[in-house]
């Protein structure tokens, strides 16, 4: 659906506001989801690669902006290969922990050394498999850059008693954004270290309040965890707004307006529904969250929206991403 409205106040170039929208439906996705699980089980996991691709294609294909949907282009066979290798490694790991601590140590060491490579490959694979309007995304992150930003920089945090944490997070996000490309253009982060400090300062204030509220008799036990959780929600919502709202792509800007309380409400009611339905409510919850995220995003673009060009790149294996998937080391936006 075209949701473009021209801004009468804009003097020269035509500027349009395009609302992101998520058109997926819980009922429709539920069917895809449950068939995914069924076939994954009866094929002893082989189908999981197709399941992942179909899930991603559903969510990408249901997310639309300026009349066009996103698309996910990965080939299930490619993902299956990566997944089999990762699975073999995981089985070796979980067996070695029981039978041979020495082998376990070696495998863990191999994993640690390979982690930056896995993360970098995962990020760029995911980016390259995403497209909009027949133009692909890409990420130029490298093994060295990932090692520096995600393994070296965090070491600074304990030495500064946590004071450097907002700076480190900001550096990480900036690294990811400025290496992200759409066609021939590169994203440009405009958020600053100050943005992250003020966000973390607010969250820190909430945490202090949480600590103090323990002193309130009876009600304190309820209020404190709630305040603590809202501090965490504040950070993830704030980062969403900073990263999407303060990143530019040539003549395109974004407006991210997620709010903490609605996000928390959706998050916790989702968890509740998933628990009460023994997991069957998960598709509904996923669709609901995707809808909320899309509702909070607006793309502001001039006519340059039509002028991105694609450049073809060589094929890339899914190995890195799948290793990252299984070992949960992904570092996404």
């Amino acid at each position: 659906m075209e949701a473009a409205t021209s801004q009468p106040t804009a003097p020269q170039a035509q500027v349009h506001h395009h609302q992101f929208e998520f058109t997926g439906k819980a009922g429709e996705f539920f069917k895809i989801w449950i068939v995914n699980i069924l076939l994954t089980i009866v094929t002893l996991g082989i189908y999981s690669a197709w399941a992942k691709v179909r899930t991603n294609r559903y969510f990408y294909g249901s997310t639309k902006v300026a009349g066009s949907a996103f698309s996910y282009l990965a080939d299930p066979i490619q993902i299956l290969k990566g997944r089999l290798i990762a699975m073999a490694f995981l089985i070796a790991l979980s067996l070695s922990i029981e039978f041979s601590p020495a082998l376990y140590g070696i495998l863990i060491l191999v994993l640690l050394v390979a982690t930056p490579w896995i993360i970098a490959r995962g990020i760029s694979f995911n980016a390259r498999m995403s497209a909009w309007r027949n133009v692909r995304f890409n990420s130029k992150v490298t093994m060295g850059g990932v090692f520096l930003h995600f393994m070296v920089l965090p070491l600074v945090v304990p030495f500064t008693m946590g004071l450097a944490a907002p700076w480190v997070v900001q550096e990480q996000k900036k690294y990811l954004v400025k290496n992200y490309e759409f066609g021939n253009e590169t994203f440009e982060p405009t958020f600053t270290t100050g943005d992250f400090y003020s966000l973390y300062l607010k969250a820190f204030g909430l945490m202090i309040l949480a600590g103090l509220s323990f002193l309130i008799p009876v009600a304190g036990v309820l209020i404190a965890p709630l305040l603590y959780l809202s501090a965490i929600a504040l950070i993830s919502v704030g980062q969403f707004n900073l990263i999407y709202g303060k990143s530019k792509l040539a003549g395109v800007q974004f407006e991210a307006s997620m709010e903490t309380l609605p996000f928390m409400w959706i998050y916790f009611t989702n968890l509740l529904v998933i628990a009460l339905t023994l997991g069957l409510g998960a598709p509904w919850a996923m669709v609901r969250m995707a809808k909320h995220r899309a509702d909070c995003l607006i793309m502001i673009a001039d006519d340059s929206l039509d002028s991105f060009t694609d450049h073809q790149q060589e094929q890339q294996s899914a190995l890195g991403e799948e290793m990252g998937d299984v070992f949960d080391v992904a570092a996404g936006l």
Partner: protein
């Protein structure tokens, strides 16, 4: 090649290598050839046959992508019309079947039933049975290596040294050796003594044949036959390689959980952990029964009255009260079945 149907598809055309989006209409004729509609002639849409196109498979109601040989793209939400004009025998037949499966409510309900049935069968029968077979076919040295370091770990975190006299320890060790000799088991048995106010009266078997007797149990037992009854039960755990089987089951379960939940949001992993937890306790109950079977047979073989086992169980039940569910893989971790277990040893 001819197809029966022809169709007009409305959508958006994206020229190759650019983000330009042009609303367009294309026509697929009865020969499977694509022509731009009159209104879209100026867009430079290539003319070609459907068989030369790369057509994405159908996922729900998300837009369908038809890629031309030159890299340009036509995107349409008219999924049904695309299905009608698909060339027969294309590469997408597999996912076409998947889509049919996904779009019928009846199929979906059957899927759900099959999933639950399969998970149940797999976890309750396949995993325990497979781990039993594997555990019993491995050499005893493997079972031994599973337990390596366990006692050191328990010493660091849970156990205090025993206060029993050296003579008493020697006496009990002698009794264990007699029991073990009669069992003909291929493990080397060793008796260790520890104490712990939190654990109280209890006994454990490690996979390598080390039995740990807590001081509390020695104090609680009215006679040595009762302690030997407990030892017989613990030897049962060792002989049946319960430690190794538990390790294998846990690996099997975690692989299964990753397979099933790998593509589900992480929040549901929490829900998925609940059945896994229930199964763990189900498995360990099964193992207690197996160890009891072994103890019953073994006691009869060496001429110990089975009633001693019943007596020490009653004493243990009384000393631990009803609140003992500490999760230790020990002698008493299955309270609800206590009465049932005791009755089997009574004349």
């Amino acid at each position: 090649m001819t197809t029966q149907a022809s169709a007009v598809l409305k959508g958006i055309y994206y020229p190759a290598g650019s983000s330009r989006a042009e609303p367009a209409e294309i026509m697929v004729d009865t020969y499977g050839l694509i022509h731009p509609a009159v209104s879209s002639k100026h867009l430079g849409i290539p003319r070609c046959g459907m068989t030369e196109m790369k057509i994405s498979t159908r996922v729900g109601s998300t837009p369908r992508q038809l890629r031309f040989p030159d890299g340009s793209l036509f995107e349409t939400e008219d999924n049904d019309a695309v299905d009608q004009v698909l060339p027969p025998g294309g590469s997408g037949w597999f996912e076409g079947v998947i889509h049919k499966l996904e779009s019928k409510a009846r199929h979906v309900l059957i899927s759900a039933a099959v999933i639950f049935g399969f998970i149940y069968l797999f976890m309750v029968y396949v995993v325990p049975d497979a781990s039993r077979r594997v555990a019993m076919s491995l050499p005893p040295s493997v079972a031994v290596s599973v337990g390596e370091g366990t006692l050191d770990l328990l010493d660091d975190f849970a156990f205090d040294p025993s206060r029993l006299s050296a003579e008493r320890k020697a006496e009990l060790r002698q009794q264990l050796q007699e029991l073990a000799a009669a069992s003909g088991s291929e493990f080397t048995y060793r008796l260790e003594f520890r104490s712990s106010p939190e654990i109280g009266a209890n006994a454990f078997a490690l996979p390598d044949g080390t039995l740990v007797l807590m001081d509390g149990l020695e104090e609680l037992a009215e006679n040595d036959q009762q302690i030997m009854a407990v030892m017989s039960h613990e030897i049962g755990h060792v002989v049946h390689r319960h430690g190794l089987r538990q390790a294998l089951q846990r690996s099997g379960l975690s692989v299964m959980l990753i397979l099933v939940t790998g593509d589900i949001v992480s929040a549901t992993n929490l829900a998925a952990a609940i059945p896994a937890f229930l199964l763990e306790s189900h498995y360990s109950r099964e193992m207690e029964t197996e160890a009891d079977d072994y103890a019953l047979q073994h006691m009869q073989k060496v001429g110990l009255e089975p009633v001693h086992f019943a007596n020490i169980m009653r004493l243990l039940a009384a000393s631990h009260g009803q609140d003992d569910e500490d999760g230790m893989p020990g002698f008493l971790s299955t309270h609800p079945m206590m009465e049932e277990r005791i009755e089997r040893f009574e004349p």
